[in-house]
Point group: C2
Chain length 339, copies 2
DNA sequence: TTATTTTACCAAAACGTTTTGGAAGGGGCA
DNA sequence: TGCCCCTTCCAAAACGTTTTGGTAAAATAA
């Protein structure tokens, strides 16, 4: 593998000039620069990243730790999310470091320590933020830039990231359900410590109130963002004293499990019971019946998060620190909306 | 951020000793080692990775580039796959670098060059191998270890990775379909350049022959491993002159699209037509109807690939270079097998 | 002409580790 | 005692860059 020294020797110039030529400095003549670029190309010279990182004190990498509760998980949300992060990072010549750790576990702490304090990453992407999130405190303390998908409770002015405007979407969704005659509407949520659960449940309840429907505590069930969790929660709802006629799920995977449970209990989803999800990712167009959902552009969100983060990392002027995104209601057959 | 020098100064010993104490060398007394470890812990010292990489000439990272054709893709296979890679890597104190690039694109080439020649990774994980795969040639040339999920045609003795024993699984699956009385069985595949398409189509045809069913070219359709691709291919099959009564799909996502198309055409999947997938990942238990599929343990496969790769990277004695995995036939309602 | 600025280059230091090749001191043995 | 071998430690070199603080030559100004 040729080093910068080899290139310099070949052209009979100093390594300084090679370095500065390739980095686009003005104090190297256009002619020399072209010769350097040409020689580097033909020798197959690629700067050694470790050396560059060591000297520049930055890594040109950002990190993302998948908050996967179980080892075996297969959430298409993350496939799309990671693709977005990776693409935006690559287009800025950054690398993306990925790992997995259960939320609030010792592994998670160890990973963040290793990445942040070992100076492996210049910034971090966070999602599935928790109401009280040690990661936020830790990153703040260590002065590592980070961008979040959901704003945790104690993030005020310094918040950097993307927020989904949920309330409007939920009001629209629940209005749609109410228009179908539903008034017995349940919610299948997730761990109460998650910001997204907090937001979505709150928006759900607010929307009920706005529609003059009395919220009922026995219609709030808890899943775990997986189809299995949705399946079990739906089973409990359907075998309770007053089963709902419509169910709003915290994400698409939960809704898929819920549809399965309803079907197994003899319901025809979309006729006997209405079910809706959130995310718009999980092949939701191809479920049977197709799933009504609040679609949010996961890939775009991921790119936006990365773009924001990299601006801060590079200390560039940043226009807006918060990008707000409106979810888009997709009415499909699962809510009886249309064939 | 404290450096090794700070630790050494605090204890009044040389940085050599600190380094060697932490790395577990024998030529430092147990007492000194304990003092070093204690001091490092309390000062919050974490070795700078760039410096270590530069000196040791290795990165303690492996890379994986998601072969995503479109920017927006949401294949749960990859979520589970990446989780497996990340977990195994993390447990060996390695990091996982991830990016995305369309197969055979210029971006793909640029990424591999950057990672390999810039010495960003010690090894690479490959999947969706192509029959003639420039990545294999490139990595071989540059003498970078890599592990593959599918064996490309020109990889003989030097192959390192996991192979799925497909033929047995397909024979079992097709036997199951034949037992239901199906003889008009179609196959929805993927790009002909992919090794997995080659393998699965070949296994499909061999199994037909073994069951004394005449393979028919007009029952071979092509998708693109996505639900959309499966949907379109299925539509073409169903509107052809002799529509099939059973369809085997190259993966679960294709099967999900195919089920959707069949339903839209008025078929009841599992009664009027049988459909099967491959992977066992995609929430296949929760589709409507639940999908018959050849289940392969994606998470375990990913961990195994990483384990093999890291052994080679660390130049450890490696037992077997090839791990063979048997897919497991899961008979569910979509093939009419059971309720 | 001489003085000043601009252009184009470079030597050497620095980044924080790991590794090499010793060296000091103590104990065992003849 | 003298010799050798452990044990435990260390100074210095090396890894491949980027950055600092220049200098020499050429161009421009006075």
């Amino acid at each position: 593998m040729p080093t910068i020294r080899d290139v310099a020797r070949k052209l009979n110039i100093s390594i300084t000039t090679v370095s500065r030529a390739l980095d686009g400095y003005a104090d190297v003549s256009e002619e020399t620069r072209q010769r350097v670029i040409e020689a580097a190309r033909e020798m197959g010279y690629v700067p050694n990243r470790a050396a560059r990182q060591l000297r520049r004190r930055r890594t040109d990498s950002i990190g993302y730790i998948v908050p996967a509760a179980k080892p075996q998980f297969a959430d298409p949300f993350f496939a799309e999310f990671i693709a977005g992060l990776g693409d935006e990072a690559a287009s800025a010549n950054y690398d993306l470091l990925v790992s997995t750790a259960p939320p609030n576990s010792a592994e998670e702490q160890a990973l963040y320590r290793r990445w942040v304090q070992g100076e492996k990453v210049d910034g971090v992407i966070l999602n599935r933020t928790r109401l009280s999130d040690w990661r936020v405190d830790f990153l703040r303390e260590n002065k590592i830039p980070f961008a979040c998908l959901e704003r945790s409770l104690d993030q005020a002015a310094d918040f950097l990231g993307v927020e989904t405007e949920i309330e409007g979407g939920y009001l629209e969704l629940l209005g749609h359900l109410a228009a179908q005659g539903h008034s017995h509407i349940a919610f299948i949520g997730a761990d109460a410590g998650l910001k997204l659960q907090y937001d979505r449940l709150q928006a759900f309840q607010k929307s009920l109130t706005a529609l003059h429907i009395q919220p009922r505590p026995d219609l709030i069930a808890t899943g775990d963002l997986t189809p299995e969790g949705g399946y079990q929660a739906m089973l409990r709802l359907l075998t309770s004293e007053h089963p709902p006629s419509a169910v709003v799920c915290v994400n698409d995977l939960t809704a898929i499990g819920a549809m399965h449970a309803a079907h197994n209990q003899g319901y025809v989803v979309g006729r006997d019971i209405a079910i809706a999800g959130f995310d718009g990712v999980a092949d939701s167009a191809h479920t049977q019946p197709p799933l009504t959902t609040l679609d949010q552009p996961v890939y775009t969100i991921a790119r936006t998060l990365t773009r924001l983060l990299l601006k801060v990392v590079a200390r560039e002027e940043i226009g807006e620190r918060v990008v707000t995104i409106q979810p888009n209601l997709l009415i499909r057959a699962s809510s009886g909306g249309k064939k």
